[in-house]
């Protein structure tokens, strides 16, 4: 590493960190929180809704999973203005990301709910619970434990996918890296730095996931 490169790394350190802390991480957290709520609704609609609602939920999941995230981002940010809906980069990114993650998370939640044995429903009915209460108090708490590992994976993917929002002008970490790279011409250095930043964030998330799983695992042995 030449002294010049070292200076550049030091110079870019703070802008990239700032991009991570005010862009990447909040973008991922907010999108994930919205996505989980939406996904729960979609999963319930698909499992227990009336026929047309089930069909809508199915179509939603199919469309989201069958189209690229980048295209979804472009439709929200560059497409909608041509029908008169203009949304800023940040909210556009949150909308597209949460709609995207919700499509996948809905399927994870549906599978987790279905993995709870039928006997749990029956046991709940015989002690006097109706369907809604059974779902809330018996089925979903157990489904949550099953769905934590796959949902954590979705979250880690989401963190990395926020880099795509640089293409709709969101100033997150990768956008900061691109700007410093363009100004200095040191593309290799800056993009490797960006890669390292993502990796560190994902390492921390994986550690968090393991701890969460161990905590929940205590309750679901057998």
């Amino acid at each position: 590493m030449t002294p010049d490169t070292w200076d550049l790394v030091q110079e870019a350190f703070w802008p990239l960190l700032r991009g991570t802390l005010v862009g990447t991480i909040p973008l991922a957290l907010i999108s994930m929180a919205l996505a989980l709520n939406l996904a729960l609704g979609v999963a319930m609609a698909r499992l227990y809704g009336p026929r047309p609602v089930q069909w809508l939920a199915r179509a939603y999941v199919s469309i989201i999973r069958g189209t690229p995230l980048l295209v979804q981002l472009f439709i929200v940010f560059y497409g909608l203005p041509s029908i008169g809906i203009r949304i800023d980069p940040w909210p556009s990114a949150v909308i597209a990301l949460s709609l995207n993650v919700a499509g996948y998370a809905a399927e994870i939640i549906r599978a987790a709910v279905q993995s709870v044995p039928k006997g749990q429903w029956e046991a709940a009915y015989t002690v006097g619970m109706n369907r809604r209460l059974t779902l809330q108090r018996i089925i979903l708490p157990q489904a949550v434990r099953v769905s934590v590992p796959p949902l954590s994976n979705s979250f880690i993917s989401l963190v990395k996918d926020t880099s795509l929002t640089s293409l709709i002008l969101v100033t997150e970490m990768f956008r900061e890296a691109q700007e410093v790279a363009a100004a200095s011409g040191e593309f290799m250095t800056l993009y490797v730095m960006a890669a390292v930043y993502y990796w560190v964030v994902c390492l921390a998330l994986s550690a968090g996931q393991s701890r969460l799983e161990t905590r929940l695992e205590r309750h679901v042995a057998h």
């Binding site: 749990q120 006097g128 679901v220 057998h222």
Partner: protein, 323 residues
């Protein structure tokens, strides 16, 4: 009162699980539904609980017609073969749950849970999770949970089926004692005739979706209404042209008036019992006859493998049906 089942039928596709079953289960008794797997006994129990609907017929529980009443409003306690413990809740919480959703006062719930945990000997496990209990303990917890709601009937579907032999034996003695204390109308499903004979006040033998016989354990054992009941309630063997229980055969080394005679061709000792096979010399009845006697009887009679013996029914052996 108790449970009145009238003309209940249930089909799963082409399979007839229950065919026009009518049955009256008296209040306060411990009744066993006994029969082979796939005979319809579990289906009948689940229909009573409301977990399955019948195609035809009516179930009246303690004077209340349950047609169209969902399981959660029938006030039945149900115990499942595989426990169906609420895994994410402590033992105490599992038991309390049915009361909490009925919005009973906190103090009342606590008192009731304490009382039930005491009854099922799980007081010291109140704050454990079901995954930290053994199979037998889990099933006792499930029983406490079922009793918590003060059910009008308690239904148990093969409750000890998933437990090992020793625990199964302990638990059924315990169920018997519990029932003597609690006196709730109880119906349990089993395919284990020994379990049914030992625990129940009355037995209902179900096979192929029909009731074969209803009666006390003694009635069924001594006066089986059909070959099926006879052979299902214990071992049987063919002596001449009749079915008989192997321990109801009189065996002698000396020539006597006998149904068949022949050499002892097989000799198996199981604990205090000796199980013999005698191959008749009479070519009209070539199949070996099983005979069971105690070891001390075998010694007293001076029996040895290979001895020629004469066999006839014991005097007063009722369990004889023409084959």
């Amino acid at each position: 009162m108790g449970i009145e089942i009238t003309g209940v039928s249930k089909r799963f596709g082409d399979f007839v699980a229950l065919d026009d079953v009518s049955l009256s289960i008296p209040s306060g008794q411990l009744t066993a539904l006994l029969g082979p797997s796939g005979g319809g006994k579990s289906t009948l129990l689940r229909i009573v609980a409301g977990l399955e609907s019948s195609d035809e017929g009516q179930v009246v529980i303690e004077g209340r017609d349950t047609t169209g009443v969902p399981a959660q409003k029938r006030n039945v306690g149900f115990v499942f073969q595989h426990y169906a413990a609420f895994k994410h809740m402590t033992v105490a919480k599992n038991v309390a749950f049915g009361l909490e959703i009925r919005k009973r006062p906190k103090a009342e719930v606590k008192a009731k849970v304490d009382e039930l945990l005491e009854l099922v000997h799980l007081t010291q496990f109140a704050h454990r999770l079901p995954s930290q209990l053994s199979g037998g303990q889990r099933q006792r917890m499930a029983l406490a949970r079922a009793l918590a709601i003060e059910p009008s009937v308690l239904l148990l579907d093969e409750p000890f089926g998933a437990l090992d032999a020793k625990v199964r034996k302990e638990l059924r003695d315990w169920l018997r004692r519990l029932h003597d204390e609690v006196h709730v109308t109880t119906v349990f499903v089993t395919h284990d005739q020994e379990e049914a004979l030992e625990v129940a006040d009355s037995l209902v033998v179900i096979n192929d979706g029909r009731i074969e016989q209803v009666g006390t354990p003694d009635d069924l054992y001594d006066k089986p209404a059909s070959d099926f009941v006879l052979s299902f309630l214990g071992p049987v063997t063919t002596l001449g042209d009749r079915l008989i229980r192997p321990h109801d055969i009189e065996i002698s080394r000396y020539e006597q008036a006998a149904v068949v005679d022949g050499p002892i061709t097989r000799w198996t000792r199981v604990g205090f019992e000796v199980r013999l096979e005698v191959t008749p010399t009479d070519p009209r009845h070539p199949d070996p006859v099983q005979v069971v006697l105690t070891r001390s009887d075998a010694t007293a009679l001076g029996l040895h493998p290979g001895d020629h013996v004469w066999l006839r029914p014991q005097p007063g052996a009722d369990a004889v049906v023409h084959a």
